[in-house]
């Protein structure tokens, strides 16, 4: 109990250090540049205290639940018994890891679809486009983008191919799409990648990638473990630009053949 309290107090101190900069910045600018007192000082201080306590609990929970869960799924989905192959006599091909890709895609798809900040962005997009882009269509395309991105990312870990080939390939697709996509949607599409990588998804997906890289023979967590989040934030951009393009074609029909 004493150990645990010490540990808790230490974490609390570390977290104080972490949120100190933003507190100093906000309050400093408020008092020195804007020169107005805080509107609700008491509420604000209680709020900061909540943030502090929240981070401590969250980080503690990550270590107990989300990180172990990610590596557990990675190891259970890659054991030779589960794959149904004899690792001594048969070579394991990338097709054997079918369920790994399905798992990654399901996690990506479901978390993106449930992401509250994405809902807000999607509603805004429906407004901007005057209804040609539907909120639901946008959410589904982001979710497909994240799901596909994570599946491809796990495929990369399994095969051990170079991360930058995929990402730079993705960049080139984005460049080409930007040339043709409706101008109004570009900023929003670009931002949709960052929006989907939430506080809960990031740790789980990171643990999954590191877990896969340490259990799949021939992979090294140092070299292959990271990179999933990059996939999850690049592919939604492609999916949203693609969706906007299709929505524009559908609404304008053949009239939109302006250069």
């Amino acid at each position: 109990m004493i150990d645990w309290l010490m540990h808790f107090a230490l974490k609390l101190l570390e977290t104080c250090r972490d949120i100190l900069p933003i507190v100093v910045i906000i309050i400093g600018f408020q008092l020195l540049v804007i020169r107005k007192p805080l509107a609700h000082p008491k509420k604000t201080i209680i709020g900061f205290f909540y943030v502090l306590l929240g981070i401590v609990f969250f980080l503690e929970g990550l270590d107990l639940a989300l990180f172990p869960l990610g590596s557990l799924m990675a190891s259970q989905l890659t054991t030779p018994e589960f794959l149904g192959v004899n690792s001594v006599t048969e070579a394991i091909t990338w097709q054997s890891y079918f369920w790994v890709y399905v798992f990654a895609a399901s996690i990506g798809f479901s978390t993106a679809l449930a992401e509250p900040s994405l809902l807000a962005v999607a509603l805004k997009a429906e407004q901007i486009s005057g209804g040609t882009i539907r909120a639901w269509g946008l959410r589904i395309s982001v979710a497909i983008g994240v799901g596909f991105g994570l599946a491809l990312g796990t495929f990369r870990i399994v095969t051990g191919s170079e991360l930058y080939l995929y990402i730079i390939g993705g960049y080139i697709i984005v460049l080409i799409q930007t040339r043709f996509a409706p101008k109004l949607i570009i900023g929003l599409a670009y931002d949709s990648g960052g929006v989907t990588t939430s506080m809960v998804t990031v740790p789980l997906v990171t643990a999954l990638g590191l877990g896969l890289a340490s259990t799949i023979p021939g992979r090294n967590p140092l070299l292959d473990g990271f990179g999933l989040i990059a996939f999850a934030s690049l592919f939604p951009i492609i999916a949203v630009l693609g969706y906007a393009q299709i929505a524009q074609w559908r609404s304008k029909g053949s009239l939109s053949s302006k250069p």
């Binding site: 929240g54 990648g193 590191l210 989040i229």
Partner: protein, 242 residues
């Protein structure tokens, strides 16, 4: 009782986790058919995550967010370019330093680097590596927000800085040490999560609303993408430097 904001927040934190729990459960029951070790600590951990998220979001909504938002409006109306850019940089930096997902992943990355003998296998070396990583990411996010704000003020198209960033990433990758590339590519997505995204979006939309000739819907977006691109460049540079 159910209308109490805290209870509502508790419920919505649970909803954040629900899709993950559902997918894992379906896989465990239908496909893997293996017992889960340590169910007890998984449940306690999940509860901690839910409580933590609830307190965190509740706290942000009653402290940082309203102040940050009103400040973005006030500074935009004040019209001083210097203070606006200074605020943009500081806001990006401060938000990224406090980002819980980045704290957790940086620690993880330091452990991996230690096990891979990239750095010394001591707690001090790992803590130093993790902190260095976070400070690098935070500096780059500050710079990204600064450039993004400048872009909104000047009215540049959003793809100019993004394309430039892409080219930088493509050129730097062959020269960066291979061990840093994965974490560098990931760092942007990790850092743009629960504090950075809402604060930065509020800043962008606030600015685009108060500057004449800018449309909040089109010019207000585009800050997050810079904030997720710039860390990649900076972390690769950090990898080259150490």
């Amino acid at each position: 009782m159910l209308q109490h904001p805290f209870i509502k927040q508790l419920f919505s934190s649970f909803l954040d986790l629900a899709p993950i729990l559902a997918v894992v459960l379906v896989f465990q029951v239908l496909i893997i058919h293996q017992p889960i070790p340590d169910v007890g600590s998984l449940i306690v951990g999940t509860l901690f995550v839910i409580i933590g998220l609830t307190l965190f979001v509740q706290g942000l909504e009653q402290s940082l967010f309203p102040i940050g938002e009103s400040m973005a409006y006030a500074l935009a109306r004040k019209g001083s370019l210097f203070w606006l850019l200074a605020f943009a940089f500081c806001l990006g930096f401060g938000a990224a330093v406090a980002e819980p997902a980045l704290i957790a992943v940086a620690e993880k990355a330091a452990n991996i680097a230690g096990n891979g003998h990239l750095i010394e296998q001591t707690d001090a070396a790992k803590a130093g590596y993790a902190l260095g990583l976070r400070i690098t990411v935070a500096l780059s996010i500050g710079l990204a927000i600064l450039i993004g704000v400048l872009r909104i003020i000047r009215g540049w198209p959003v793809y100019y800085p993004v394309f430039f960033g892409y080219v930088c990433v493509a050129i730097m990758t062959p020269f960066a040490p291979v061990e840093i590339i994965g974490i560098a590519y990931d760092s942007g997505g990790i850092a743009t999560s629960s504090i950075t995204v809402p604060l930065v979006t509020a800043l962008g939309v606030g600015l685009a609303t108060s500057i004449k000739g800018r449309n909040p819907m089109t010019d207000g977006f585009g800050l997050i993408v810079l904030a997720s691109l710039m860390p990649t460049i900076f972390v690769m540079a950090y990898g080259m430097a150490i």
